[in-house]
């Protein structure tokens, strides 16, 4: 319990230091409106990296799998969504408008997804209060069904904007499905290898994905990438009055606010999901497999199944990160998904503490905080334009320096447990 409190304090402290520090730099900037929006932008980037690191945390921290190709799953999510939406938009959007069978099927699908979400959430609450399991499930199912029917009825028939949003939604599903399936396939092939070889195999896989996105120009536009990807959050924020009012009140851009809120929401949901699983017997089995696969097998646990599940969950989270990424920048190019992104994710885990989901979030805030703080240093008066041009390398050096310091002074990471670390295998 006390340890849990300490971890939350570290998280809060990191937030205050990083965003407080960035605000201080902001105070020197003449443009008041941009300052808050800039912080929101940093928050969005942090959220994307936190999602990536959370995915890796399940794979490495809990299942003990070294996935050096994590970025590929982010790329698959991003490209899966972007390619579908942009290439199929002209065919799909008209087909979804008005009273057509396809429109009906897609609306039913979206409504069911929404209904399932409501069901799942309601079940969490109902399970706490209802004495009997059937009652809880009944209440949750009724709510889910009602939500699905209501959502379906309000959506049908789709107008042009609705059809586009539905297409984007399909793209999201396709992106996540592509990445999760790839996780399954890579797992089935790679998990038969010994641990370190999995790392090499996944690194190879990420290179394959990179080269495919670069060279399959018919599908991906090659090195030019895909521009002007529809940004549903961005569009929503520019068209929603209360969002605009709220943003005006806080003196930020509504789009930045909506994006950051979406990112933080995704991280929060992912964190709660993973924590629930980690504290449950499922997480216990995963930890046992990480500790000693033979022992887990001798206790009747099917290690391959659990590792596949961990890989698929990690890949799905990476895909969500990828989709948030393209929604943030409205474009996607192969160079967005270089191996360095994977290694930043690893650095985040090492900084925060391997085997602790809070560590993934702390690490993401810290790494990105250091980057941004270092970048802002050049706005201090004694730096000239000449210095600013060379600001890139010192940023990376600073991150490296902090990493070395953490590994030396706190090898268990900022929120990791020293005892767990020292026991090792």
């Amino acid at each position: 319990m006390r340890r849990g409190v300490r971890e939350w304090l570290v998280l809060a402290g990191t937030l205050v230091v990083v965003f407080g520090g960035l605000s201080l730099f902001g105070l020197m900037s003449p443009d008041h409106a941009l300052r808050g929006t800039y912080l929101l932008g940093v928050a969005m980037t942090v959220a994307i990296y936190a999602l990536l690191a959370l995915g890796l945390s399940v794979e490495m921290g809990y299942a003990g799998l070294l996935n050096f190709g994590h970025v590929a799953f982010m790329g698959l999510g991003a490209y899966g969504a972007a390619v579908f939406v942009l290439k199929q938009r002209d065919a799909v959007v008209p087909a979804l408008q008005g009273a057509q069978p396809w429109a009906f099927a897609v609306i039913a699908l979206i409504a069911l997804c929404l209904g399932f979400l409501v069901y799942a959430l309601a079940l969490q609450v109902a399970q706490r209060f209802a004495k009997r399991r059937r009652v809880a499930i009944g209440i949750a199912a009724a709510l889910g069904l009602a939500a699905a029917i209501y959502a379906g009825a309000t959506m049908y028939p789709l107008g042009p904007r609705g059809a586009l949003n539905a297409t984007v939604f399909l793209g999201v599903l396709i992106g996540i499905a592509a990445s999760t399936l790839a996780g399954l396939v890579v797992g089935l092939a790679g998990l038969r290898l010994r641990e370190d070889y999995l790392a090499i195999a996944t690194l190879g896989f990420s290179q394959v994905v990179f080269l495919l996105t670069l060279n399959e120009a018919d599908i991906t536009n090659g090195s030019q990438g895909i521009q002007s990807v529809p940004r549903p959050i961005f569009d929503w924020a520019t068209h929603t009055q209360w969002m605009k009012d709220l943003a005006k009140h806080w003196n930020v851009l509504p789009t930045g606010l909506a994006n950051a809120a979406m990112g933080i929401l995704c991280v929060a949901i992912a964190f709660v999901l993973l924590e629930t699983l980690a504290r449950a017997p499922w997480g216990r089995v995963l930890k046992a497999i990480r500790e000693d696969e033979d022992v887990a097998a001798s206790l009747g646990k099917n290690a391959l199944l659990y590792k596949l599940q961990a890989l698929m969950i990690g890949s799905a989270l990476a895909a969500v990160a990828g989709i948030l990424f393209i929604w943030n920048v409205a474009s996607v190019v192969p160079e967005d998904f270089l191996a360095i992104v994977t290694f930043y994710s690893f650095a985040i885990l090492v900084l925060g503490g391997v085997g602790n989901h809070k560590g993934a979030i702390v690490g993401a805030i810290l790494i990105w905080g250091i980057f941004e703080l270092a970048g802002n240093l050049t706005s201090l008066p004694f730096f000239t334009q000449h210095h600013i041009a060379f600001a890139g390398p010192p940023q990376a050096i600073l991150v490296g320096l902090v990493l070395i310091l953490v590994v030396m002074l706190r090898p268990q990471g900022l929120v990791g447990s020293k005892e767990e670390m020292s026991l090792g295998k």
């Binding site: 799942a120 079940l123 969490q124 399970q127 399991r133 809880a136 999901l273 629930t276 699983l277 504290r279 449950a280 017997p281 499922w282 216990r284 089995v285 930890k287 046992a288 500790e291 000693d292 033979d294 022992v295 887990a296 097998a297 001798s298 206790l299 009747g300 646990k301 099917n302 290690a303 599940q309 969950i313 005892e419 767990e420 026991l423 090792g424 295998k425």
Partner: protein
Amino acid sequence: MANEGDIILETVDLRKQFGGLKAVDGVTLKVRRGTLTGIIGPNGAGKTTYFNLLAGAYRPTSGKVLFEGQDVTRLAAWRRARRGIARTFQLTRALSRMTVRENLMLAPDGQVGERVWGPLFAAPQVRHEEEALRRKADEMLSLFELTRLADSYAGSLSGGQKKLLELARALMREPRLVLMDEPMAGVNPTLARKLLDKVEALRRERGITFVLVEHNLEAVFERCHPIVVMATGRKLIEGDAATVRAHPDVIEAYLGGAA
């Protein structure tokens, strides 16, 4: 069904070859339910390989393993475990970065919370199950006098305590057959005696069958019946302590060709 004295485990002409080395070279053996069978033999006799063939860690080159009359030769270790075979390891393998209690609660099969949807969609059931598991684990801990270590990391236990933990963990699964690989290696004599007393009591009271591979001959002669002697990958002889002790082949196997 489970009659005292029927055959629980059987191997038929079991062989395992590593390259040119015939580690296990045609072992046929029947283990009766409710016995404490000891497997002895000099170093390199193939005991541990044979043991791993029984547990499913290795696939045999040829031959069969039958558990309760069913062929389990092709089953992976985890599937055999689910049939009711538990094992301990030669070098203790506690799950270090998990607490002693977690080690025990992990062991039983069929936990709803172990499935990925369980914790999310059947939370009350999982909570209920965990409470029951916790009680069961605490009973097992008090049986093995490990209660005060319940919340320590398993990695911080002494060698002997880890052996006890391994046995307790295996028993959490309510197995019908327990395979123990050198349970007394590296354990002080008092604790070793305690361990064997536990095994004996469990055999008598719960009818669990034990097969142990052991280097401590005195303990095996004192406790096990029957005793199986292996040498150069084969079963040399099988019988009670007196028969085995007197047999000339056994003396030769242990002393080498010189005797």
